[in-house]
Protein backbone atom coordinates (compact mmCIF):
# COMPACT_ATOMS: atom_id res chain seq x y z
CA UNK A 1 0.00 0.00 0.00
CA UNK A 2 2.74 2.31 1.01
CA UNK A 3 4.64 1.42 -2.16
CA UNK A 4 1.59 2.23 -4.27
CA UNK A 5 1.25 5.58 -2.57
CA UNK A 6 4.86 6.29 -3.34
CA UNK A 7 4.37 5.39 -6.99
CA UNK A 8 1.25 7.51 -7.16
CA UNK A 9 3.09 10.42 -5.61
CA UNK A 10 5.87 10.01 -8.17
CA UNK A 11 3.33 9.91 -11.01
CA UNK A 12 1.56 12.93 -9.58
CA UNK A 13 4.87 14.76 -9.64
CA UNK A 14 5.93 13.64 -13.13
CA UNK A 15 2.69 13.97 -15.10
CA UNK A 16 2.10 17.70 -14.47
CA UNK A 17 5.79 18.34 -15.10
CA UNK A 18 5.48 16.58 -18.45
CA UNK A 19 2.45 18.66 -19.45
CA UNK A 20 4.09 21.84 -18.22
CA UNK A 21 7.02 21.08 -20.50
CA UNK A 22 4.71 20.47 -23.47
CA UNK A 23 2.97 23.75 -22.72
CA UNK A 24 6.28 25.56 -22.67
CA UNK A 25 6.98 24.39 -26.19
CA UNK A 26 3.60 25.05 -27.76
CA UNK A 27 1.76 28.31 -27.40
CA UNK A 28 -2.01 28.38 -27.61
CA UNK A 29 -3.52 31.46 -29.12
CA UNK A 30 -7.23 32.20 -29.15
CA UNK A 31 -8.79 33.21 -32.47
CA UNK A 32 -12.40 34.11 -33.20
CA UNK A 33 -14.30 31.88 -35.62
CA UNK A 34 -15.27 33.60 -38.88
CA UNK A 35 -19.03 33.58 -38.23
CA UNK A 36 -18.58 35.48 -34.95
CA UNK A 37 -16.41 38.06 -36.70
CA UNK A 38 -19.02 38.47 -39.43
CA UNK A 39 -21.71 38.97 -36.77
CA UNK A 40 -19.66 41.66 -35.00
CA UNK A 41 -18.73 43.57 -38.16
CA UNK A 42 -22.21 43.33 -39.64
CA UNK A 43 -23.81 44.55 -36.40
CA UNK A 44 -21.41 47.51 -36.30
CA UNK A 45 -22.13 48.45 -39.93
CA UNK A 46 -25.88 48.12 -39.43
CA UNK A 47 -25.74 50.23 -36.23
CA UNK A 48 -24.15 53.01 -38.26
CA UNK A 49 -26.52 52.50 -41.22
CA UNK A 50 -29.45 53.01 -38.81
CA UNK A 51 -28.03 56.50 -38.20
CA UNK A 52 -27.57 57.04 -41.96
CA UNK A 53 -23.80 56.72 -41.72
CA UNK A 54 -22.28 54.35 -44.28
CA UNK A 55 -19.16 52.68 -42.90
CA UNK A 56 -16.81 49.76 -43.43
CA UNK A 57 -15.41 47.44 -40.76
CA UNK A 58 -12.24 45.46 -40.19
CA UNK A 59 -11.66 42.55 -37.83
CA UNK A 60 -8.01 41.75 -37.06
CA UNK A 61 -6.55 39.00 -34.86
CA UNK A 62 -4.13 39.44 -31.93
CA UNK A 63 -1.22 39.71 -34.36
CA UNK A 64 -2.94 42.44 -36.40
CA UNK A 65 -3.64 40.17 -39.37
CA UNK A 66 -6.79 41.15 -41.25
CA UNK A 67 -9.35 38.38 -40.77
CA UNK A 68 -12.33 40.20 -42.24
CA UNK A 69 -13.16 43.36 -44.18
CA UNK A 70 -16.74 44.36 -44.95
CA UNK A 71 -17.64 47.47 -46.93
CA UNK A 72 -21.15 48.67 -46.03
CA UNK A 73 -23.65 49.69 -48.70
CA UNK A 74 -22.72 53.16 -49.94
CA UNK A 75 -19.52 53.34 -47.88
CA UNK A 76 -16.31 54.78 -49.31
CA UNK A 77 -13.28 52.62 -49.94
CA UNK A 78 -10.90 55.56 -49.90
CA UNK A 79 -10.97 55.75 -46.12
CA UNK A 80 -10.46 52.03 -45.60
CA UNK A 81 -6.80 52.53 -44.70
CA UNK A 82 -7.84 54.76 -41.78
CA UNK A 83 -9.92 51.97 -40.24
CA UNK A 84 -7.05 49.57 -40.87
CA UNK A 85 -4.72 51.82 -38.87
CA UNK A 86 -7.23 52.24 -36.06
CA UNK A 87 -7.51 48.44 -35.80
CA UNK A 88 -3.72 48.24 -35.54
CA UNK A 89 -3.68 50.87 -32.78
CA UNK A 90 -6.44 49.21 -30.75
CA UNK A 91 -4.86 45.76 -30.91
CA UNK A 92 -1.37 47.10 -30.14
CA UNK A 93 -2.34 49.22 -27.13
CA UNK A 94 -5.32 47.11 -25.98
CA UNK A 95 -7.58 50.11 -25.51
CA UNK A 96 -10.48 51.60 -27.50
CA UNK A 97 -9.04 54.28 -29.80
CA UNK A 98 -11.70 56.79 -28.72
CA UNK A 99 -10.16 56.65 -25.22
CA UNK A 100 -6.71 57.26 -26.70
CA UNK A 101 -8.05 60.16 -28.78
CA UNK A 102 -9.59 61.75 -25.66
CA UNK A 103 -6.45 61.14 -23.62
CA UNK A 104 -4.36 62.83 -26.30
CA UNK A 105 -6.76 65.77 -26.55
CA UNK A 106 -6.61 66.25 -22.78
CA UNK A 107 -2.85 65.89 -22.65
CA UNK A 108 -1.15 66.71 -26.00
CA UNK A 109 2.28 65.88 -24.58
CA UNK A 110 1.32 62.22 -24.11
CA UNK A 111 3.96 59.84 -25.51
CA UNK A 112 2.95 56.85 -27.61
CA UNK A 113 5.24 54.48 -29.51
CA UNK A 114 6.55 56.22 -32.65
CA UNK A 115 4.70 53.98 -35.07
CA UNK A 116 3.65 55.38 -38.47
CA UNK A 117 0.81 52.84 -38.65
CA UNK A 118 -0.89 54.20 -35.50
CA UNK A 119 -3.96 56.40 -35.75
CA UNK A 120 -5.42 57.87 -32.58
CA UNK A 121 -8.98 58.42 -33.75
CA UNK A 122 -12.09 56.77 -32.34
CA UNK A 123 -13.60 53.78 -34.12
CA UNK A 124 -11.67 50.70 -33.03
CA UNK A 125 -12.17 48.52 -29.96
CA UNK A 126 -9.99 45.65 -28.77
CA UNK A 127 -11.72 42.26 -28.52
CA UNK A 128 -10.87 40.55 -25.22
CA UNK A 129 -11.51 36.99 -24.09
CA UNK A 130 -10.78 36.51 -20.39
CA UNK A 131 -8.71 39.70 -20.20
CA UNK A 132 -6.49 38.66 -23.11
CA UNK A 133 -6.62 40.75 -26.32
CA UNK A 134 -7.53 38.35 -29.14
CA UNK A 135 -8.19 40.94 -31.82
CA UNK A 136 -9.86 44.23 -32.65
CA UNK A 137 -12.95 45.48 -34.44
CA UNK A 138 -12.48 48.74 -36.32
CA UNK A 139 -15.08 50.93 -38.01
CA UNK A 140 -14.33 53.76 -40.44
CA UNK A 141 -16.26 56.13 -42.67
CA UNK A 142 -18.15 58.30 -40.16
CA UNK A 143 -17.02 60.82 -37.56
CA UNK A 144 -14.68 59.23 -34.97
CA UNK A 145 -17.40 59.41 -32.28
CA UNK A 146 -19.96 57.72 -34.55
CA UNK A 147 -17.46 55.05 -35.60
CA UNK A 148 -16.64 54.38 -31.94
CA UNK A 149 -20.31 53.91 -31.00
CA UNK A 150 -20.89 51.49 -33.89
CA UNK A 151 -17.76 49.47 -33.08
CA UNK A 152 -18.92 49.22 -29.47
CA UNK A 153 -22.34 47.99 -30.66
CA UNK A 154 -20.61 45.26 -32.68
CA UNK A 155 -18.46 44.25 -29.72
CA UNK A 156 -21.46 44.19 -27.35
CA UNK A 157 -23.22 41.81 -29.74
CA UNK A 158 -20.48 39.17 -29.55
CA UNK A 159 -19.65 39.73 -25.84
CA UNK A 160 -21.60 36.58 -24.75
CA UNK A 161 -19.15 34.42 -26.78
CA UNK A 162 -16.11 35.96 -25.13
CA UNK A 163 -16.49 34.69 -21.56
Amino acid sequence: MRNHLGQLALLAAIVPAFYAQAQDKLINQKVLPLHVEVEAAQTAIEACAAKHVAVHAYVVDANDNVKLLLVGDGAHYETVSGARRKAHTAVMLGRPTIELQKALAANPGLQFPADPMSLFLGGAVPIRAGGEVIGALSVGGGAPEQDAECAQAGLDKIQPYLQ
Binding site: L34, H35, I45, N65, V66, K67, L68, L70, D73
Partner: protein, 188 residues
Protein backbone atom coordinates in the same frame (compact mmCIF):
# COMPACT_ATOMS: atom_id res chain seq x y z
CA UNK B 1 -15.76 103.90 -77.26
CA UNK B 2 -16.48 103.93 -73.57
CA UNK B 3 -20.21 103.84 -74.30
CA UNK B 4 -19.90 100.82 -76.56
CA UNK B 5 -17.99 98.94 -73.87
CA UNK B 6 -20.71 99.77 -71.35
CA UNK B 7 -23.35 98.48 -73.74
CA UNK B 8 -21.50 95.22 -74.37
CA UNK B 9 -20.50 94.54 -70.76
CA UNK B 10 -23.87 93.44 -69.37
CA UNK B 11 -24.89 91.10 -72.23
CA UNK B 12 -21.42 89.55 -72.19
CA UNK B 13 -21.62 88.97 -68.43
CA UNK B 14 -25.08 87.42 -68.73
CA UNK B 15 -23.88 85.23 -71.59
CA UNK B 16 -20.99 83.79 -69.54
CA UNK B 17 -23.13 83.29 -66.42
CA UNK B 18 -25.71 81.47 -68.52
CA UNK B 19 -22.97 79.31 -70.05
CA UNK B 20 -21.62 78.45 -66.61
CA UNK B 21 -25.07 77.57 -65.25
CA UNK B 22 -25.81 75.51 -68.33
CA UNK B 23 -22.50 73.64 -68.04
CA UNK B 24 -23.21 72.84 -64.39
CA UNK B 25 -26.69 71.60 -65.30
CA UNK B 26 -25.23 69.40 -67.96
CA UNK B 27 -22.69 67.95 -65.52
CA UNK B 28 -25.37 67.27 -62.92
CA UNK B 29 -27.70 65.54 -65.32
CA UNK B 30 -25.09 63.33 -66.97
CA UNK B 31 -24.50 60.51 -64.54
CA UNK B 32 -23.84 56.84 -65.05
CA UNK B 33 -25.27 54.25 -62.70
CA UNK B 34 -23.02 51.36 -61.76
CA UNK B 35 -24.55 48.37 -60.02
CA UNK B 36 -22.82 46.65 -57.14
CA UNK B 37 -23.92 43.94 -54.72
CA UNK B 38 -25.47 44.81 -51.36
CA UNK B 39 -23.20 43.86 -48.45
CA UNK B 40 -25.41 41.09 -47.09
CA UNK B 41 -25.30 39.25 -50.43
CA UNK B 42 -21.55 39.59 -50.54
CA UNK B 43 -21.36 38.00 -47.08
CA UNK B 44 -23.61 35.14 -48.26
CA UNK B 45 -21.42 34.53 -51.30
CA UNK B 46 -18.19 34.65 -49.30
CA UNK B 47 -19.50 32.24 -46.69
CA UNK B 48 -20.85 29.88 -49.40
CA UNK B 49 -17.42 29.80 -51.09
CA UNK B 50 -15.60 29.15 -47.81
CA UNK B 51 -18.23 26.55 -46.84
CA UNK B 52 -17.86 24.70 -50.17
CA UNK B 53 -14.09 24.56 -49.64
CA UNK B 54 -14.44 23.49 -45.99
CA UNK B 55 -16.65 20.59 -47.13
CA UNK B 56 -13.60 19.37 -49.10
CA UNK B 57 -11.22 19.97 -46.16
CA UNK B 58 -9.78 23.03 -47.86
CA UNK B 59 -9.26 26.16 -45.76
CA UNK B 60 -10.02 29.02 -48.11
CA UNK B 61 -9.42 32.74 -48.19
CA UNK B 62 -11.93 34.83 -50.15
CA UNK B 63 -11.99 38.34 -51.63
CA UNK B 64 -14.98 39.90 -53.38
CA UNK B 65 -14.46 42.95 -55.62
CA UNK B 66 -16.95 45.19 -57.41
CA UNK B 67 -17.03 45.70 -61.19
CA UNK B 68 -14.22 48.26 -60.99
CA UNK B 69 -11.99 45.88 -59.03
CA UNK B 70 -12.33 47.61 -55.64
CA UNK B 71 -12.16 45.23 -52.69
CA UNK B 72 -15.57 45.02 -51.01
CA UNK B 73 -15.07 41.99 -48.79
CA UNK B 74 -12.14 39.99 -47.42
CA UNK B 75 -12.64 36.79 -45.45
CA UNK B 76 -10.14 34.39 -43.98
CA UNK B 77 -11.95 31.11 -43.27
CA UNK B 78 -11.34 29.22 -40.03
CA UNK B 79 -7.88 27.71 -40.40
CA UNK B 80 -7.27 29.74 -43.59
CA UNK B 81 -4.16 31.76 -44.22
CA UNK B 82 -3.88 35.55 -44.42
CA UNK B 83 -1.10 35.30 -46.93
CA UNK B 84 -3.58 34.11 -49.56
CA UNK B 85 -5.55 37.38 -49.45
CA UNK B 86 -3.38 38.95 -52.13
CA UNK B 87 -3.74 35.98 -54.46
CA UNK B 88 -7.51 35.90 -53.92
CA UNK B 89 -7.79 39.65 -54.55
CA UNK B 90 -5.80 39.50 -57.76
CA UNK B 91 -7.85 36.60 -59.12
CA UNK B 92 -11.09 38.43 -58.30
CA UNK B 93 -9.82 41.61 -59.92
CA UNK B 94 -8.69 39.77 -63.06
CA UNK B 95 -12.06 38.06 -63.30
CA UNK B 96 -14.00 41.33 -62.86
CA UNK B 97 -11.87 43.13 -65.45
CA UNK B 98 -12.00 40.36 -68.05
CA UNK B 99 -15.66 39.47 -67.34
CA UNK B 100 -14.93 35.76 -67.31
CA UNK B 101 -13.56 33.20 -64.88
CA UNK B 102 -9.79 32.97 -64.56
CA UNK B 103 -10.10 29.24 -65.37
CA UNK B 104 -11.68 30.10 -68.74
CA UNK B 105 -9.11 32.81 -69.29
CA UNK B 106 -6.28 30.39 -68.58
CA UNK B 107 -7.68 27.93 -71.15
CA UNK B 108 -8.05 30.65 -73.81
CA UNK B 109 -4.51 31.80 -73.14
CA UNK B 110 -3.18 28.26 -73.46
CA UNK B 111 -5.07 27.81 -76.74
CA UNK B 112 -3.97 31.18 -78.06
CA UNK B 113 -0.66 32.30 -76.51
CA UNK B 114 -0.64 35.45 -78.66
CA UNK B 115 -3.84 36.67 -76.93
CA UNK B 116 -3.36 40.12 -75.47
CA UNK B 117 -4.22 40.73 -71.83
CA UNK B 118 -3.91 44.18 -70.26
CA UNK B 119 -0.41 44.93 -68.89
CA UNK B 120 -1.80 45.14 -65.35
CA UNK B 121 0.59 43.95 -62.64
CA UNK B 122 -2.44 42.95 -60.54
CA UNK B 123 -3.55 40.39 -63.11
CA UNK B 124 -3.29 36.75 -62.14
CA UNK B 125 -4.49 34.09 -64.54
CA UNK B 126 -4.84 31.07 -62.24
CA UNK B 127 -8.22 29.34 -61.64
CA UNK B 128 -10.08 30.69 -58.59
CA UNK B 129 -11.68 33.90 -59.88
CA UNK B 130 -15.31 33.88 -61.02
CA UNK B 131 -17.40 36.88 -62.13
CA UNK B 132 -20.69 37.75 -60.42
CA UNK B 133 -23.44 38.65 -62.86
CA UNK B 134 -26.76 40.43 -62.47
CA UNK B 135 -28.45 39.49 -65.72
CA UNK B 136 -25.75 39.94 -68.34
CA UNK B 137 -23.95 42.69 -66.42
CA UNK B 138 -20.84 41.85 -64.41
CA UNK B 139 -21.30 43.49 -61.00
CA UNK B 140 -18.21 42.03 -59.33
CA UNK B 141 -16.15 38.91 -58.89
CA UNK B 142 -15.19 36.34 -56.27
CA UNK B 143 -11.59 35.23 -55.82
CA UNK B 144 -10.68 32.14 -53.80
CA UNK B 145 -7.21 31.01 -52.76
CA UNK B 146 -5.83 28.41 -50.38
CA UNK B 147 -6.47 25.15 -52.21
CA UNK B 148 -5.47 23.63 -55.53
CA UNK B 149 -6.46 25.78 -58.56
CA UNK B 150 -9.37 23.49 -59.51
CA UNK B 151 -10.63 23.41 -55.92
CA UNK B 152 -10.44 27.19 -55.68
CA UNK B 153 -12.36 27.49 -58.93
CA UNK B 154 -15.18 25.21 -57.78
CA UNK B 155 -15.42 27.05 -54.43
CA UNK B 156 -15.63 30.44 -56.15
CA UNK B 157 -18.24 28.98 -58.49
CA UNK B 158 -20.21 27.77 -55.45
CA UNK B 159 -20.20 31.34 -54.13
CA UNK B 160 -21.39 32.72 -57.49
CA UNK B 161 -24.07 30.00 -57.68
CA UNK B 162 -25.30 30.89 -54.20
CA UNK B 163 -25.74 34.48 -55.38
CA UNK B 164 -27.59 33.39 -58.49
CA UNK B 165 -29.90 31.42 -56.23
CA UNK B 166 -30.51 34.49 -54.02
CA UNK B 167 -30.86 37.00 -56.87
CA UNK B 168 -32.87 34.83 -59.25
CA UNK B 169 -34.63 32.12 -57.21
CA UNK B 170 -36.99 31.12 -60.08
CA UNK B 171 -34.22 30.52 -62.62
CA UNK B 172 -32.04 28.56 -60.22
CA UNK B 173 -34.85 26.15 -59.40
CA UNK B 174 -35.11 25.09 -63.05
CA UNK B 175 -31.40 24.75 -63.83
CA UNK B 176 -29.59 21.56 -62.95
CA UNK B 177 -27.25 21.84 -59.93
CA UNK B 178 -23.54 21.87 -60.67
CA UNK B 179 -21.56 18.76 -59.70
CA UNK B 180 -19.11 20.81 -57.65
CA UNK B 181 -21.57 22.38 -55.22
CA UNK B 182 -22.04 21.03 -51.72
CA UNK B 183 -23.66 17.57 -51.70
CA UNK B 184 -26.20 18.60 -49.04
CA UNK B 185 -27.63 21.19 -51.42
CA UNK B 186 -27.64 19.11 -54.58
CA UNK B 187 -29.68 16.28 -53.01
CA UNK B 188 -32.51 18.62 -52.00
Amino acid sequence: MHRILKKIALPTFIFFVAQAVHAQDAVLSQTVTIKSLAMRYQIEAGEAAIGACAANQVHATVVIVDSAGNTRLQMVGDGGKYSFLEEARRKARTSAMMRQSTATLQKSLAANPAMRIPPDTDFLVIPGGVPIRAGSEVVGAIGVAGGEPQENDSCAQAGADKLKELLYPEESATTAPRPNTQPAETTK
